[in-house]
Amino acid sequence: MCADLSRTPRTLLVCDRSSFLDHKNRVSSQVEQLHFIYKVSVLLPECNSASSSLDSVFNSFTSFYLIRKLPIYELLDKDFLQSAVYQGSVHGLSFRTRIDEDNCVALMPNGRLTLSLDKDSFELLGFEGKPSRFNHRSCSRFEVSVDLTDSSMAPGGRGYLRLLTGLKSHLQLQTDFLLSHHPGGGASLQALLSRYDWSEHKPKVSRRCLSNLVCPAPRSCDPHSLLEWLGAVDADVRCENSSSSFLSSFVCPEANTTLGHALSVSVSGLLLPHDVQRLIQELRCYLQQPQLESWVSLTVHGFTDSLVSWGGSEHGALIGGQDFYSLLMFHDHTYRLYLSTATCHTCPP
């Protein structure tokens, strides 16, 4: 029994070290792979206030829409497919649904619609799916995944009609839904939005000025300790503890320097990978300015209850973890990219 108790699940952390100048770097493709982002946080050392160009990027994240009680069959609407799914990329995710207990829906930018259903709903739907990878003992969850751009899913096709009747008459699935579209924005979604109760939301930007921050050496620090420290800074956890204090023995790992100032900016909402790309470009420009500390860090978190992980692979919350990556950029165009994923998931790209 004791052996079982100390057992922990497999964990995976991928650390990439390369340079933006290297033609083999895959940062942009890796950024594209994480579809549902809820938070981006940036740590700018030795910085009091972000430059205006950086600020404008923070403020210009694409806004997103929340539709209340959207019947999921509306996503198969012919006009919606024509105006949004076939043109550009749609990011859609059911909101306030728990991956371990509710039915979740995601619409990915490549036109793939994924439903994660409990057993009863799956049996009602009557559409081909496969058992979830995160079933424990008995088969209690199923994943249905269809490519809406496929010929069989074209309006009027067999698969299309079957899914439509399934969602319309057998399983009347309704959830709150977050939706955003690139590059069309709200215009291409307007037809769908107008039929339901919807609201537009701007991603929320919050800035925090930090002073006297004890900081490890980013290049030499152990990845786990570094990530822990970055997380602690973001979550505003004090690290002025001693190893003997009762409450917490957390200290800054391999304390190296003390930063006089630092700026921590975070953006949250349903964010698009495209905007993250722009932010990375802007941060690279920012790094070219002469300054004391020559690094910045960018951490991107996926939705905890998102049903897809890296790429299109399945995501399960019960067995822990969120998907996130941390990008550490240096003055000389080199970068460190730490990609993480929850247990049992496939290796990030």
């Binding site: 009863d120 009557g126 081909e128």
Partner: protein, 223 residues
């Protein structure tokens, strides 16, 4: 009537009018003996003299032996399963697999259920209706698969043509004969606004055996 009167001579005045000849008593006794000999089936078994002293004698009639029982068992034998299979008795010929051919059967079934449930008004007690339906015959009902472990069965609807122990055979509006296993599916039956759900896994009986079966009440049923 007196016995003596039977043995009396026929009066003379009647002899003339009836045109019969009176017999002497000895002749009559010989006749009776000969008659008995002919009428009795196995005269050697009986002592005729002895029999005549008794009153009850069965003449010209033999009690039927138990041949009829033999005959009925022969009838029940009929065809065995192999012969039935060979003759395809329970298979519906492709030319008869038409939805409209079975519509009258459906109408008949509706009447049967309405009769069974005593009118089936909207005010009827659903539990009472369900109790009746449990024991009823479903041939001719329109059934729909509402839930199934196998997604491709879900939504299939048609008239129930044949019911076997483990499968339903239904004919769809597209004139397709479909075989649907009872196990791992839930069926819905609609009649006059009453929709009943049948858990196929609990229904794996022949229709005739089901009528005698007692169903247990369960809180929740999983597929």
């Amino acid at each position: 009537m007196d016995e003596a009167q039977i043995y009396t001579q026929i009066p003379h005045n009647l002899v003339k009018s009836l045109n019969v000849k009176p017999q002497s008593s000895s002749k009559a006794a010989a006749f009776t003996e000969a008659f008995l000999k002919n009428s009795l089936q196995k005269p050697s078994q009986y002592d005729l003299k002895d029999m005549l002293t008794h009153k009850a004698v069965i003449l010209g009639y033999a009690r039927p032996k138990k041949e009829s029982a033999k005959r009925s068992s022969k009838k029940a034998k009929g065809l065995n399963a192999r012969q039935k299979r060979k003759m395809k008795i329970f298979q519906i010929k492709p030319e008869h697999q038409r939805y409209e051919l079975f519509l009258p059967l459906h109408e008949l079934w509706r009447q049967y259920i309405v009769d069974l449930c005593g009118g089936l008004k909207p005010t009827s007690n659903p539990q009472f209706v369900q109790q009746k339906l449990l024991k009823a015959d479903f041939h001719g009902a329109i059934i729909t698969v509402v839930r199934s472990k196998c997604p491709s069965y879900v939504g299939t609807t048609g008239i129930l043509v044949q019911e076997f122990k483990h499968v339903f055979k239904i004919i769809t509006k597209e004139n397709k004969l479909k075989v649907i296993p009872k196990r791992n599916s839930v069926f819905a039956i609609e009649i006059n606004g009453f929709v009943s759900h049948i858990y196929g896994s609990k229904f794996e009986q022949r229709a005739s055996e089901r009528s005698a079966k007692k169903f247990k009440v369960r809180g929740t049923i999983d597929l």
